[in-house]
């Protein structure tokens, strides 16, 4: 039985524009998402900002009601059986918020332990255990307001696993954390899975999904545009080629024309300081460099490089469609 099941989840927001004459506006944040996660998996929801990852996760953790569709966690429906779901899941999100600044880490954990049903007798030992796990032992009596972003993140994880949930949902857990801290966090996350938990992670860092996840679903604009293991996703662009061309001030019509060249599967522009880099993915059959450069005649062109595609390119191709 799948541990997490999402079946055609939809979520629409109604908002308004204007002050005096308010016009209603309907925003479809999630448009029919379906996926499932097996026990012991580390599943990634990968997508750019605004793709609907956070909305999806909030529906799964019972904070938002889906507009339509169904979702089940450990067999319990997220709408009808919310309480049962909440007992068995942990929720961790990235960022500075979500903690009581004026209290110590220990006081924060005591409170949440009580709320999340850690029995009175076990609280002290459990808190010590999680503090040890996340590497905050010794600093638990300091006020959270003095904590760095990395420490707060670790405290979030501690809080999320206090009640030893079977499933842990992590929403962009490494956002804004320094590279070393982020690496530690990732190790903690893998350890959770190694310890038998099922983890659903949302992120917009491709390398993170690639490094951590057993399976990934790529979300763009409220829909899943691709799913599979990192190897499978990379396979989509295997056999292909990526050509990177430095240009100075290329315009949109030209980029569109480049997209039209036979063999080109995706073109994206990266801004790097004063220049732009056109990243052109090709299916590898044709030799298109000459055709590309021909289209760029009249523009200043710098370095031209060729390389193998990475998961990032697969992601870009999927998201760009």
């Amino acid at each position: 039985m799948a541990v997490i099941e999402a079946i055609k989840l939809r979520r629409t927001y109604r908002t308004t524009t204007g002050v005096l004459r308010r016009k209603p506006l309907e925003v479809e944040a999630v448009r029919g998402i379906s996926f499932s996660v097996e026990r012991g998996e580390l599943f990634g929801l990968l997508g750019p900002n605004g793709a609907g990852k956070t909305t999806t996760i909030k529906m799964l953790i019972t904070l938002l009601l889906p507009t339509s569709g169904e979702a089940r966690v450990l067999g319990h429906d997220v709408v009808d059986d919310a309480r049962e779901v909440r007992k068995r899941i942990g929720y961790v999100f990235g960022g500075d918020r979500g903690l009581y600044e004026r209290l110590s880490a220990y006081d924060n954990l005591r409170y949440f332990a009580e709320l999340y049903g850690v029995s009175g007798r076990e609280q002290r030992t459990r808190i010590d255990e999680v503090l040890e796990l996340v590497g905050l032992k010794g600093r638990e009596h300091e006020r959270v307001e003095g904590y760095s972003r990395g420490m707060r993140q670790r405290l979030h994880i501690a809080r999320g696993i206090l009640h030893d949930p079977e499933v842990v949902f992590l929403d962009e857990p490494t956002i804004g954390v320094d590279p070393v801290g982020a690496r530690d966090l990732r190790r903690m996350i893998s350890d959770l899975v190694a310890g038998g938990k099922t983890v659903l992670l949302t992120t917009h860092y491709m390398f993170e999904a690639d490094a951590l996840c057993d399976r990934i679903a790529v979300i763009s604009r409220g829909e899943i545009v691709g799913a599979g293991s990192p190897a499978e996703l990379k396979g989509r662009v295997q056999g292909g080629h990526v050509t990177e061309i430095e240009v100075f001030g290329v315009d949109d019509p030209t980029v569109d024309r480049l997209r039209g060249i036979a063999g080109v599967t995706a073109v994206t522009i990266e801004e790097r300081e004063q220049k732009q880099v056109l990243v052109v993915q090709t299916s590898g059959e044709h030799e298109v460099t000459a055709a590309l450069l021909a289209q760029l005649d009249g523009f200043e062109v710098g370095r031209v490089a060729s390389r193998e595609p990475t998961l990032e390119d697969a992601y870009v191709a999927l998201v760009d469609e």
Binding site: Y13, R86, G95, G98, F112
Partner: protein
């Protein structure tokens, strides 16, 4: 049993948090002094020590209500701002058990109001504090704090749906002060308003403190506080699920 644990843990946690807000304490402790001073000046003409004691206690209860009205309705707002609201809702506990101790803790900060007003009255105006019924007076303190806190909870429930909760709390200060007979007896108000007065915890808390100090039907007052606590609690809980559901539907939980 575990519900009581959750309530207690919640009360301790939130009392700590509010107590560590220097401005909340500063204002909580000083506004009552301001009210008291105002009342002292105004009553000067015919002010007996009993009238002035009345003004002291009334100002303290006014302060307790202010904390409850302004802060309790703002409590949800604050949790939203701190990003903790989601975590509280996502907990497998009845949200009422999370919110109740929060509003009671906020009202409890009113204990500082009581202390400072009585000390101020004693030091600056020489107002004595007789204790005709000492036990009842001592009980009247938590009775007032809890019943006003639960009233704050009921208020909060009505406002949890909306984002501008604290603005309503603002506009309820004077009406409740007016109706509760805090700085002047209810007898001054038109008779048709009396039922409103009798349904407010502040009215009975005030009377309990006054009668505990000067003598009077204090046990009736305490009984009314207890009764109203149950009534407000029931109302709050009844509204709670409906509104929480609506918040999940319209996604107002994490918006600041």
């Amino acid at each position: 049993m575990s519900s009581l644990r959750v309530l207690w843990a919640g009360w301790v946690t939130h009392f700590k948090i509010v107590s560590r807000s220097p401005f909340a304490i500063g204002v909580g402790a000083t506004w009552p002094i301001v009210n008291a001073t105002l009342a002292y000046f105004m009553y000067q003409a015919g002010g007996s020590p009993q009238t002035l004691l009345y003004a002291s206690l009334g100002s303290a209860v006014a302060g307790i209500w202010s904390m409850a009205a302004l802060d309790a309705s703002g409590a949800i707002q604050r949790q939203r701002f701190w990003g903790t609201l989601e975590l509280l809702v996502a907990a497998p506990v009845k949200f009422a058990l999370v919110l109740l101790p929060m509003t009671i803790a906020i009202a409890s900060v009113g204990i500082y109001c009581l202390a400072t007003t009585l000390v101020w009255g004693r030091l600056v105006y020489g107002i004595p504090l007789p204790l005709e019924h000492p036990l009842a007076f001592v009980l009247a303190v938590p009775a007032t704090l809890v019943s006003v806190g639960v009233l704050g909870f009921a208020l909060c429930m009505l406002l949890v749906r909306f984002r501008a909760a604290s603005h309503i709390g603002n506009s309820l200060e004077y009406p409740v002060w007016l109706a509760s007979g805090l700085l002047f007896p209810i007898a001054v108000l038109p008779a048709w308003t009396h039922p409103i007065s009798w349904s407010l915890a502040t009215t009975w808390g005030m009377r309990a403190l006054l009668h505990g100090s000067l003598g009077g039907p204090v046990w009736l007052d305490l009984g009314m506080c207890a009764l109203l606590t149950v009534v407000y609690g029931a109302i709050g809980v009844a509204i709670l699920d409906r509104f929480l559901d609506a918040a999940r539907r319209s996604a107002t939980l994490s918006l600041t």
